[in-house]
């Protein structure tokens, strides 16, 4: 830890040549964030003769992660959304030169005095669920309603065609499953074939898709104010229903019928539509719900492979591969028979 603190202080000094005496204290690694090593710390320095201090976050690429993504995707998302007023941390520095901390990283504001909830326990928000849920779905609607080009996100991302965005997403995650599976996956493969036989209608418009918008990936305070939305590393352009389906995935609700253990599904979808300006097509949403379980399986399967091969031995990688794969497999076998029967095949 001491070495990371010293190197981080040296980096901050390099980025701020008009200031001096940089110090990094209280550096500690945060549990979770398995796609990046995440550290919180306090930086202090002398500027204009006065001593200053700020709480910051360091997100460093791991040697292998739960989600294989480029750190600039996440940084660019923060950079695009921070000026819009959406609650996200202020992005400060993106560094790809490995000389500083051996691997690429970025530094952003630390939003203090708030907490994240674990999706793997019952009723994580208690009496705050209603208040947090309304903000959760409102912010997701706001993300979907943004013009990606107007906020400067489109330039940094591939712009898929509306009628094929489902295929691009499915091709990617099927590739992850095929490349990383440690054993055959009949449930995932059966679901994927159904998804290909029954493509969804194209979205009304292409939106920014957070990619991992769910319980556990935002911080809230004791009064139930949603303070910041995190973990944008899977952010991309696509069908905004992808985010709804992922946020409402039963994995994040621990047997609670309320998506993410927050508010009722109908109310959640209504808030989302109001703030995105997009009407939800239930047939399309059903497709994206099945897709979400497949995407989840791909992530958990990849985590298991990284753990098995010793590339990332964080216990959360093994747990994800055991527990989350189990949940998503059972979810799919509960859904697929009805979906298969509803197909018009002789």
């Amino acid at each position: 830890m001491e070495e990371i603190a010293e190197k981080t202080a040296a980096y901050l000094a390099h980025k701020n040549p008009d200031s001096s005496d940089f110090e990094v204290t209280d550096l500690s690694r945060i549990h979770g964030g398995a796609s990046r090593e995440t550290y919180r710390f306090r930086a202090s320095w002398t500027e204009g003769g006065a001593r200053k201090e700020r709480a910051l976050i360091l997100r460093r690429d791991p040697e292998a992660s739960l989600i294989e993504t480029e750190r600039d995707v996440e940084f660019n998302a923060y950079r695009a959304f921070y000026p819009t007023g959406l609650p996200v941390p202020e992005p400060l520095y993106l560094e790809t030169d490995e000389k500083w901390l051996e691997r690429p990283f970025f530094v952003m504001e630390q939003v203090e005095n708030c907490q994240a909830a674990s999706p793997f326990g019952p009723d994580p928000y208690g009496p705050l669920a209603e208040k947090i849920g309304e903000q959760f779905w409102r912010h997701l609607g706001t993300i979907a309603g943004q013009d990606p080009a107007a906020i400067g996100f489109a330039a940094a991302a591939d712009y898929p065609a509306p009628d094929t965005c489902w295929k691009a997403a499915l091709d990617y995650w099927e590739g992850e499953i095929d490349g990383d599976a440690l054993c055959p996956q009949p449930i995932a493969k059966g679901a994927i074939r159904w998804l290909r036989r029954n493509p969804p209608p194209p979205p009304k418009r292409i939106s920014v898709v957070h990619g991992d918008y769910r319980t556990g990936n935002f911080l809230y305070d004791d009064e139930g104010e949603l303070k910041t939305i995190l973990d944008w590393e899977m952010c991309h352009l696509g069908d905004p229903l992808e985010d709804i389906a992922w946020a409402a995935d039963p994995l994040w609700a621990f047997n609670d019928p309320r998506p993410g253990s927050m508010i009722d599904r109908d109310k959640a979808l209504s808030i989302w539509s109001e703030h995105s300006g997009i009407e939800i097509d239930p047939v399309a949403l059903r497709w994206w719900e099945v897709f979400s379980a497949v995407k989840g399986l791909a992530i958990w399967i990849s985590a298991g492979k990284e753990y098995e091969e010793g590339n990332n031995v964080d216990p959360i990688m093994a747990f994800s591969s055991w527990y989350c794969t189990d949940v998503h497999n059972r979810q799919l076998v509960g859904w697929m028979p009805d979906l298969i029967n509803a197909e018009s095949r002789s």
């Binding site: 055959p184 493969k189 216990p315």
Partner: protein, 149 residues
Amino acid sequence: MKPDVQTVMMRSFERILTDIAPHLCSEYAVGSSSVIGLMMFQTATEFERAADIRVQENAAMRGLFDEAVGMLPTGELRTRVEEAASSSDPSLKISELDQANDALSALLIELQAHAETMEGTAARKLETKIWDELARAATARRLPHPITG
């Protein structure tokens, strides 16, 4: 081996959660040790049932192959399905049961994909039976959670 593996895993899980994790001072260490404890809890269940689950799954897949053989046209897939239907598990070692399970599962994927391209009631029934077995197997493999059991 006494005490039983299940007992040791459960006691260790309790120890980690109540006596060890709360006394660690690093947030990352607390989180990681709790996850390790949770996996010990799940290992206790898996150790007891692992062989049984695999033997049952392998037998069920062989049963599906046996039923499907008559529906398949003469060819390479039919030959492999026929051979798999009459295969058997080499031993009760988990690694060897897993190896057999992987081979049978890979063939099941092929059979299911093939059935989806076939027309007729028999093909639809076979699809249904395959999904029923996948559901049964997934339910049998359900991992316990300390809160829900």
